[in-house]
Amino acid sequence: MLIKFFNDPERLWKLVTLLTSGVGTTCAIFALTLLLSAPLGILAALARMSKHTAVRGPVIFYIYIMRSTPLMLQIVCFYYLLPQLLPFRANPFGTVIFAFVINYAAYFAEIFRGGIQAIPVGQREAGHVLGYERTQVFMRIILPQAIKNVMPAVTNEVITLVKDTALASTVAITEIMIIAKQQVSVSSSVEPFLLAMILYMILNGIAGQFCKLAEKRLGYY
């Protein structure tokens, strides 16, 4: 078993094309999760800091569930539960995205809460005496500074997310991981896994570059 193709360029190339056909789905899971969970995380952070217990309490509970149970378990749970709870037919991909988004939003909520709380109260007070309304204080003064504060932690989440997309394979979403598994079992060699590793490394290399760029652009002050 094990290494069979490395001296057979043709089969190797076929394997590469097969695996890269999953890159689109992997990237879609990644991008949708990031784009939806980050703003949701900011909202959850605000709710988490609310002075009303009725708002704060449920959010604390939600964050606790999301962070204390395995994401894989959450994915399968939603995969079987959501179609039964929803009046319309939920497609599998949508269900998985939902699970990813609400999981990552919980992590982002805690990250943003830290980033917001790290901003000196003087900033908020200076905004108030200048007449900014509460939402303006948040959008124009607090959030831009919070985003800079959380960038290193967000970079970590981004890198973890690239790898976590592989969990979608547990519910038969055709992304890189599932193709690799299938190819390993058909070919009884580990090369598909090794190639998948290289693919994830490339994806994370790109994601990391973007994060670095973002950090650099936020580093103007």
């Binding site: 900033q123 005496v129 303006q136 124009r140 500074q145």
Partner: protein
């Protein structure tokens, strides 16, 4: 113009402002002095709506911020509170410039987004103000590139760009080296010449004496004595004499 009538403020059981009354006339420069913990900052913060008072009445030009009723300060509706905020300005000891905005944006952002001043007009006014505080060349700089004295002057320009009718200062020079204290004080001095109404908490006795029309000596949340600089500096009150050091 600005009146506070029998105001009281507690932090828990600690009474920080104790039945204090105060009236500031248009164009008047009032200096507040007093030992640490006497409630000077708290008084300014209450007047600027950063804290709520427990009891008493505060009004600006007949517009009531809050009124005493049934032993409590009843605050008016948000729209009026906001109107009052827009007519008052405040400068903090540690400047609180917005670090993510350059100097000119720090100054013009509120006029543009709060007052809805046309951007061109705000920019023109902002540049004039920067010139007035002697920092024309710093318009594009970020706050972390400024010295303390420069930052405080920008903070003053930022407050002025909202065109407040009354400007409060909470120890504007206490975070500064003695040598650069004067660059901030001279800006305040110029404002006094232009008849800006100001309420200045300060430890700079010489400055208080020179610039203010009236000095208020506070202790334990109350006013011990107030009057013209000449009268306060030659006060017969032993506590005042002890604090001023005569």
């Amino acid at each position: 113009m600005l009146t506070a009538d029998h105001i009281t403020k507690h932090y828990g059981h600690l009474c920080v402002i104790n039945n204090l009354s105060l009236c500031i006339a248009k164009g008047e420069v009032v200096a507040i002095i007093g030992p640490s913990g006497s409630g000077k900052s708290t008084l300014l913060r209450c007047l600027n709506q950063l804290e709520k008072i427990d009891d008493g009445t505060i009004a600006l030009d007949g517009m009531f911020l809050c009124r005493s009723a049934e032993g409590r300060a009843q605050y008016t509706q948000a729209a009026i509170l906001r109107k009052i905020t827009l007519r008052m300005g405040m400068v903090f000891q540690s400047y609180h410039l917005f670090p993510h905005m350059n100097v000119i944006t720090n100054i013009t952002d509120a006029p543009i987004h709060v007052k809805r001043m046309p951007a061109a007009k705000a920019l023109k006014l902002g540049k004039e103000l920067l010139e007035r505080v002697g920092l024309s060349d710093k318009a594009q700089a970020y706050p972390h590139q400024l010295s303390g004295g420069q930052a405080q002057r920008v903070a003053i320009a930022r407050a002025l760009c909202m065109e407040p009718e009354i400007l409060c200062f909470d120890e504007p020079t206490s975070a500064l080296d003695p040598e650069i204290t004067n660059e901030v004080l001279s800006v305040i001095r110029d404002l006094a010449k232009e008849q800006m109404t100001m309420l200045v908490v300060t430890h700079e006795m010489g400055f208080a004496r020179e610039v203010s029309h009236r000095i208020i000596f506070m202790e334990n949340g109350g006013i011990v004595e107030q009057g013209s600089p000449a009268s306060v500096f030659s006060s017969a009150n032993p506590r005042t004499r002890q604090f001023i050091g005569f």
